[in-house]
């Protein structure tokens, strides 16, 4: 009797803990939504993209709530970083696996793992003290979209490289044997056989890296200048959605505070979509 009872207790405890762990994300969504309600109701979704500017501290009537420049900033810095980091990350993974001599490949992998472990605030201070002065010499003011793209590229590169590397490792040896027996060169093997076989893994890697880039706060906050404007060149200073939250949460009140939660909800939605896409990509892993 008591034994059965202890097994029941165990099972239900574990179920309870798992349930709590699973509900955190719902709780996050719910709190973000509740906090967003005032802004959504009083300001309305339309004004977030049609108002003339971002001056939310004036309240619902006098203030203006245009997110578009910051959404553009996030979009620009994310797409720039993903465009750069994808080829570099895939190249790094290929280097580890097909081009580097054995020991060097392992060492390089460790190095990329190290790069993945550096905190974003450290990337930020490096960008602030080293990268920005360099850009300033070339095109003032230095704090710019370009600085954000470069720092973010280095930050998400390890995500692309490490996930791609593990999907390259999962390519069956028999494919490589088959390719060698056909007299395919190294590049022909990689391009014709290995990359198609690892395709879904690479897509997942890029999607997760994109999520990381969208959500990154500290590094872009520290190097992009944080001026609310739609960038017209890579040398313009811009403000990302994440940086905007970090800058204004400290003093935001009422509708302003609620508007910041709306932008948080938008970030969350983007990430949910990306995660859903990556799950879909990895489940549909066979070539068709």
């Amino acid at each position: 009797m008591s034994r059965q009872w202890s097994e029941h207790l165990l099972l239900w405890t574990l179920r309870g803990l798992a349930m709590v762990a699973g509900c955190i994300i719902l709780l996050i969504g719910a709190f973000l939504a509740v906090e967003s309600v005032p802004a959504l109701r009083e300001v309305g979704l339309g004004r977030f993209f049609s108002d003339t500017s971002w001056h939310p501290s004036g309240g619902v009537e006098a203030g203006s709530f245009n997110f578009a420049p910051m959404a553009a900033g996030t979009l620009a810095v994310t797409s720039g970083a993903v465009l750069l980091a994808t080829p570099l990350g895939i190249g790094s993974a290929l280097f580890c696996h097909f081009y580097a001599p054995r020991g060097l490949g392992v060492a390089f992998r460790r190095l990329v793992e190290l790069l993945a472990g550096i905190p974003s605030v450290v990337y930020g201070i490096w960008g602030l003290v080293v990268l920005i002065p360099l850009i300033r010499q070339w095109q003032p003011p230095g704090q710019s979209l370009l600085a954000g793209i470069l720092v973010l590229t280095i930050m998400i590169l390890p995500t692309v490289a490490l996930l791609t590397e593990s999907s390259l490792r999962a390519v069956p040896r028999s494919y490589l044997q088959g390719a060698a027996a056909l007299g395919l060169s190294r590049w022909a093997t990689v391009w014709g056989v290995v990359l198609p076989a690892a395709r879904s893994g690479i897509v997942t890697a890029v999607l997760l890296a994109t999520g990381r880039a969208i959500g990154e706060t500290m590094a872009v906050l520290m190097v992009m200048g944080n001026i609310v404007q739609v960038p017209t060149s890579v040398f313009d200073p811009v403000r990302a959605l994440t940086a905007n939250i970090a800058l204004e949460m400290g003093y935001a009140m009422d509708a302003h505070r609620s508007a910041l939660f709306v932008s948080g909800l938008m970030l969350l939605a983007m990430v949910v979509v990306l995660v859903a896409m990556s799950v879909w990509a990895s489940e549909r892993s066979r070539y068709a």
């Binding site: 709590v20 906090e35 570099l88 280097f95 450290v122 520290m222 970090a246 969350l268 949910v272 995660v275």
Partner: protein
């Protein structure tokens, strides 16, 4: 039978240079050099700017002049307290959820599916969103204010998916024979878990723990509006306290002339993370290898 459409069989001794192959190889090497160069640049820069100020007293003094002078002792203490709270809350959740996912859901099930998907999404949530949530839920709704407690709890939500993924991996690596043997001996399920499965799965748990600590130490954005900025020595978990990463951010962005100490703090943080990193590999290598040879 020579066929005009396929290039003729080459002589075996003549080496043709495959230009596309060569070009790609050079490109790949270039990428590797670029990545290595960036890392060396960042780390070298950190060491060059940070090392001159680094001393024992830097670790044991309180910050003076808004952090431009003095040390980082209260910051280190706050960081450790936040980390402690984070782990105290997330570890039991981690072990419970991981055991549930790995041992009780072999055949699927709705709850397991839901938990897995939720954790996938949770792992991708931006840290600033955790900050917003922590501020609204822990600091305001639960009335904890800007405090070490609130920051620690926010971080616990954040590292949970990392911990669970690794711990679950650990449980899954336990060979099925152990479970069968335990069942054949008539051991109860709780006894099997504690006496047999948990010890074997420990390496996975430890690796996850270390990864989680690394992530928590690196975090800044989630703490800005939960644990706050105060650089005084905290007297309880309800005091506000800043972590090393927030200290770096504040010195670099808000304190003119604070870069030097920001760099030194960054060096301390990186050294800490590096030690953690090495520890992970050491443990993973040692324990996982032993696991394999024992099997």
């Amino acid at each position: 039978m020579p066929d005009p459409s396929v290039s003729p069989l080459p002589s075996l001794s003549e080496h043709r240079v495959d230009w596309p192959d060569r070009a790609v190889a050079s490109l790949v090497w270039l990428v590797a050099l670029l990545v290595t160069g960036s890392l060396l640049w960042i780390v070298g820069d950190l060491a060059r700017h940070g090392a001159p100020e680094l001393s024992w007293s830097f670790l044991t003094d309180s910050p003076r002049d808004a952090g431009r002078a003095g040390g980082i002792l209260p910051v280190v203490v706050s960081t450790l307290m936040i980390l402690g709270i984070c782990l105290a809350v997330s570890l039991p959740m981690d072990v419970g959820t991981a055991i549930f996912l790995a041992e009780f859901t072999r055949t699927g099930g709705l709850l397991a599916h839901f938990v897995r998907r939720s954790l996938d999404v949770l792992a991708g949530v931006p840290s600033i969103v955790f900050g917003l949530f922590g501020n609204a839920f822990f600091s305001i709704y639960l009335g904890m204010g800007f405090s070490i407690l609130s920051g620690g709890l926010t971080l616990a939500c954040m590292v949970l998916p990392i911990l669970i993924r690794s711990t679950e991996e650990g449980f899954r690596s336990v060979p099925d024979e152990y479970r069968k043997a335990a069942a054949a001996l008539g051991l109860s399920q709780p006894a099997t878990l504690w006496q047999i499965l948990l010890p074997v799965a420990t390496p996975g748990l430890v690796v996850g723990l270390i990864l989680g600590v690394g992530r928590a130490l690196a975090e800044t954005a989630a703490l800005l509006f939960t644990s706050g900025y105060v650089a005084r020595m905290p007297s309880s978990v309800l005091d506000s306290g800043r972590t090393l990463s927030i200290h770096i951010y504040d010195l670099a962005m808000n304190v003119p002339g604070g870069e030097s100490n920001a760099y030194t703090t960054a060096l301390v943080l990186i050294t800490l993370l590096l030690m953690i990193n090495v520890l992970t590999f050491w443990i993973a290598d040692r324990w996982l290898h032993r696991g394999i040879t024992h099997r």
